[in-house]
Subunit: 209 residues, 2 copies
């Protein structure tokens, strides 16, 4: 197909597609004349991946370049590819390095060890959790392992289900999209369901009728 059809089918402007080619996110089409190039289904698939990473993951071009490089390098295991993607998604919260923050971060590391989870030291989620611990303590809500148990269990069940959805034979680009969707969109699903379930639980416990 020509670039105009690629534009129609991807919903992206020709200008945006040319920008992605210049940035090395999308391979050039094969030249069929001095002014025309031909694009195939792989280009369309790649554009869908880029759109997902930009729109859902809100990722900058540099992060997308890294993910695409990892997708194309077969020496990178699927687990490592997921690590690159997860690290790119962030969020990278500020680590202020004051005593409260350091204590919270140590609590997070101790929790991960106690759970026996295999998680990299630089996982952004460690800092995110520490950040939340600081906020909870500042409001006078102490954190105990007993309080965390239901959340740990819920998180583990959901994560297990999501990793189970990824099959070994799945194209790597699709596996990255699946991880992205699980991480960003299904967390929104979980948040929304959590609020609905809270209203229901509150109605059963405190409702007057």
């Amino acid at each position: 197909m020509q670039i105009s059809e690629l534009s129609d089918r991807s919903g992206l402007t020709v200008q945006t597609i040319k920008f992605y080619i210049r940035e090395g996110l999308l391979p050039r089409g094969s030249a069929v004349s001095a002014t025309r190039a031909e694009y195939g289904p792989r280009h369309l698939e790649r554009l869908r991946l880029i759109s997902a990473l930009r729109e859902v993951g809100d990722l900058p071009v540099s992060a997308i370049q890294q993910i695409i490089a990892a997708i194309e390098d077969d020496r990178v295991s699927l687990h490592e590819l997921f690590g690159v993607t997860r690290y790119a998604i962030g969020p990278h919260v500020a680590a202020p390095q004051d005593p409260h923050w350091r204590a919270a971060r140590e609590d997070v590391d101790a929790l991960v060890r106690e759970l026996g989870w295999n998680v990299g030291d630089r996982a952004p989620a460690r800092d995110l959790l520490a950040h939340t611990f600081v906020a909870l303590r500042r409001l006078g809500f102490p954190i105990t392992l007993k309080d965390l148990r239901p959340y740990v269990r819920a998180a583990a069940e959901v994560a297990e289900h999501e990793i189970g959805r990824v099959s070994d034979g799945m194209p790597r680009a699709r596996a990255v999209q699946s991880l992205l969707v699980s991480t960003v969109l299904y967390e929104q699903v979980l948040t929304a369901l959590h609020r609905l379930a809270q209203e229901d639980a509150s109605s059963r416990r405190f409702g007057r009728n």
Copy 2:
């Protein structure tokens, strides 16, 4: 205590405290002379609630006014008070009313009915869930009840635990803070734990060592 001590102990400036008094969020102190007023522990407690609602819930003054009015009106049940708070927290996503959005919103309503959950028609979480359904479908990830099951179960378990943490004798202002913390901060805890659990599950399934 005088306003300067109230400022020290709450961590808020005198100017901010006076602003809250003008806006009706904080009762005036009792006048002990023409230029001095005396404040008590109730004022400090109220300032902690306002700070939590502003900083954690990111709520505007008008929403805080509504929540405080509901706290002080004993005819408002705890369930209704929670409803006011949850509605204020939002998020209020745009409902574009195009066919995709309407179909997604109908799916959400059908899901809530099928689960038998008692949830108001105007709950912001209904729109949030519909919004996410639209995004999932646009990326080519269909949504089935089977896919949603693990999330429904996780959300219900966590919500049940949180509502169980609220005791009947708890001061209403503290119950609102507890709900706020469960909704905003513990959702962040759940998100962070989810990402950590995902990395662990991925390592067990796809890791090379």
